[in-house]
């Protein structure tokens, strides 16, 4: 070990421990991923986004809520306001920076709720089979057949506007594809020999599902979640734009576009700049998702 570099240790053909084998496969995946320039570009943007969101109070030049009516609707490049100001004289750059926190918050919550719900439904349905499978899959199909945005709108209408309710509404419409994937994976795993072995050792269904089936479903779910992120961001921004997501004065990007909409013909930057931010982030997620699919799920990449 001592005369070996870390890289050699990772790329060794004969791993001496389970830990080494695990790190080696991760490292090889990373090398594979790193050769994909576009995916790395996407990852770079997202890392930057997380950093900006984390350091928002340091990076932002102004208070995102501070109004300055004397300086309203200043154009891009104004002294002290790099991206101009909005209709209440608030600094657009600072609002964008703080808005990244909201975007990440929404995306993280949906990315936690929807796949976990789908995983639960899919694995239970696939493992138990029989009537449980028929009923759960029927419910999944019903939700899959719904128009997602309109259903999310109706949910928000019932629950009331707000970020948390928007997250809930998007999650409620986003889980079915994950359930389908998890079920398909479970069906192939269920009949394998090692599951029979675990069962013979006395493991119950709960233990088998959580300890032996879930870990194997994770990688295909991660790919799907990453590819769905862009859609989640766009849906959240759409709800914010309609006034059903984050409420003013919150610097949510969709709501910012909605606020600048009235001035689009004379003061184009107020609505245009937040849209570019949304576009950049969802593009980054799409690029990252494509790259991850190539690494984690080579069989799904038929193109």
């Amino acid at each position: 070990m001592s005369d070996m570099t870390l890289r050699e240790w990772l790329l060794s053909d004969a791993p001496t421990s389970r830990r080494q084998a695990r790190f080696a496969s991760l490292y090889k995946g990373w090398l594979n991923f790193r050769s994909n320039t576009m995916a790395m570009f996407g990852l770079g943007i997202l890392v930057l986004l997380v950093l900006i969101a984390f350091c928002a109070p340091i990076v932002a030049p102004h208070d995102p809520y501070a109004q300055d009516l004397a300086n309203r609707l200043q154009p891009i490049g104004t002294e002290g306001h790099l991206l101009g100001t909005d209709s209440l004289g608030r600094d657009i750059l600072s609002r964008l920076i703080y808005g990244s926190r909201i975007t990440l918050y929404i995306v993280t919550l949906v990315a936690l709720i929807a796949p976990v719900a789908g995983l639960l439904v899919g694995t239970v349905s696939g493992y138990l089979g029989g009537w449980a499978d028929v009923i759960l899959m029927r419910i999944t199909d019903i939700f899959l057949a719904f128009p997602r945005l309109v259903l999310a709108l109706a949910f928000v209408a019932a629950l009331g506007a707000g970020i948390e309710n928007a997250v809930l509404a998007i999650s409620l419409t986003a889980w079915p594809p994950y359930a389908r994937i998890a079920r398909a994976e479970t069906l192939t795993i269920r009949s394998s020999d090692y599951i029979s072995a675990v069962r013979l050792q006395g493991a119950g269904p709960f233990r088998i599902i959580t300890k032996h089936i879930w870990p194997l479903c994770i990688s295909s779910l991660i790919v799907r979640v990453t590819l769905d992120m862009a859609g989640i961001i766009l849906a959240a921004a759409g709800l914010g734009f309609l006034g059903l997501g984050a409420q003013p004065p919150s610097p949510e990007w969709g709501a910012m576009i909605s606020g600048g909409r009235r001035f689009i013909l004379d003061h184009w930057w107020v609505a245009t700049v937040p849209g570019l931010a949304i576009f950049t982030v969802s593009l980054a997620f799409n690029l990252l998702g494509d790259g991850l699919r190539d690494v984690l799920d080579p069989k799904g990449n038929s193109q």
Partner: protein
């Protein structure tokens, strides 16, 4: 040859039975899915924090009036019975009264729906006319510059917020260049000239021969329709490309080339002919998505369609209108989904 003909004739009734079976299965699955949709909208209607009785009688009504309306709405019955009432109402096309303008919701929806239909149909036409050839070329010339362009176009389409692109389009093509009409379906000057027949202004004005109205309507329609068309094109071109790629590596393509067929004949007479069925299902799906995707576009372009209707109702807490609109969009969405599935089964010889 004659034997083969006979053979085919003889097999016909046999292959018809499974088709009936799939049709019955489809009808059952349509029924279950629609019941599910109604259950969800019913539950949404029940959990909402708005008191439906109070919304009708107002806050100053006496207790007896309140109770009368409460009973009239069937709210005193068990929840299951209420659900059956709801289903029978919807089946009869009764979505209740709009709380906003006190008119039947079904009538309102019938009035606004043609506007959405016009928009989504033209959008799908754009998507197909551009997307299919783009996908075919990208698939045949894999890795070429045109494939790269198609990839970027699709990627941008998947990542761009549609309402933002609409705003920017409005700014550039209407505000700066002045090439297209602004928000709305017609300029004020042209409104109410053409008698409403189908509700789709392009068709109505063409029927009555008002070509000036037609031109004006088209100038208003072109921007939102091409915007929607762009999104449908992104999806259709990607799917076409992967279908074509699958075909081009098949052995019969190699055979056709070995026989000395021209590349054009190989692509269009062989490969394309085999992906037509898949394409039809993809187009039906993208049409369904556009009907839904037009919600945000309609807001941007002040387009008086079902998307605008639902959102306006939403913001003024008119739940009957919201749920009625949701049910209509949902039903159409489900029907198109199942139709595309059915078309696939009917037209794909392998599934028989």
């Amino acid at each position: 040859m004659a034997l083969a003909e006979n053979d085919r004739e003889g097999r016909k009734p046999a292959s018809f039975a499974p088709f009936l079976k799939t049709a019955a299965g489809s009808i059952l699955s349509i029924a279950v899915t629609m019941l599910g949709l109604l259950l969800v909208t019913f539950i949404i209607g029940r959990v909402m924090p708005i008191d439906p009785v109070l919304a009708i009688v107002g806050e100053r009504a006496s207790q007896s009036t309140y109770d009368a309306v409460y009973e009239q709405l069937g709210l005193d019955k068990p929840i299951i019975v209420q659900f059956f009432y709801y289903i029978s109402d919807v089946v009869r096309g009764d979505f209740g009264m709009s709380l906003l303008n006190a008119r039947p919701v079904a009538e309102d929806i019938a009035r606004v729906f043609p506007a959405t239909l016009e928009l989504a149909t033209l959008g799908t036409i754009f998507g197909v006319v551009v997307g299919v050839p783009l996908g075919v070329i990208a698939g045949v010339k894999r890795g070429s510059w045109i494939d790269q362009v198609a990839r970027v176009v699709a990627l941008v389409g998947y990542s761009m917020p549609i309402f933002w692109l609409g705003l920017v389009g409005l700014l550039v093509f209407y505000g700066i260049l002045g090439w297209v009409g602004g928000p709305g379906r017609l300029d004020i000057f042209y409104q109410d000239i053409v008698p409403t027949r189908t509700g789709m202004i392009l068709i109505d004005s063409a029927i009555s021969g008002h070509w000036d109205v037609f031109r004006n309507a088209f100038s208003h329609l072109i921007l939102p329709a091409s915007l929607l068309g762009y999104y449908s094109m992104a999806y259709i071109s990607r799917m076409t490309r992967s279908f074509i790629l699958e075909q081009m590596s098949a052995e019969y393509i190699v055979t056709a080339r070995v026989k000395g067929m021209s590349e054009r004949a190989v692509i269009w007479r062989h490969a394309f002919r085999n992906i037509r069925v898949q394409l039809i299902t993809v187009i039906a799906l993208s049409y369904a998505n556009l009907l839904e995707g037009s919600v945000l576009t309609e807001i941007i372009f002040s387009w008086p369609g079902i998307g605008s209707y639902i959102t306006t109702a939403l913001l003024s807490a008119d739940m009957n209108a919201v749920l009625g609109g949701t049910v209509v969009v949902g039903l159409i969405f489900i029907c198109l989904n199942i139709l595309s599935d059915l078309l696939y089964r009917i037209f794909d010889p392998r599934s028989k």
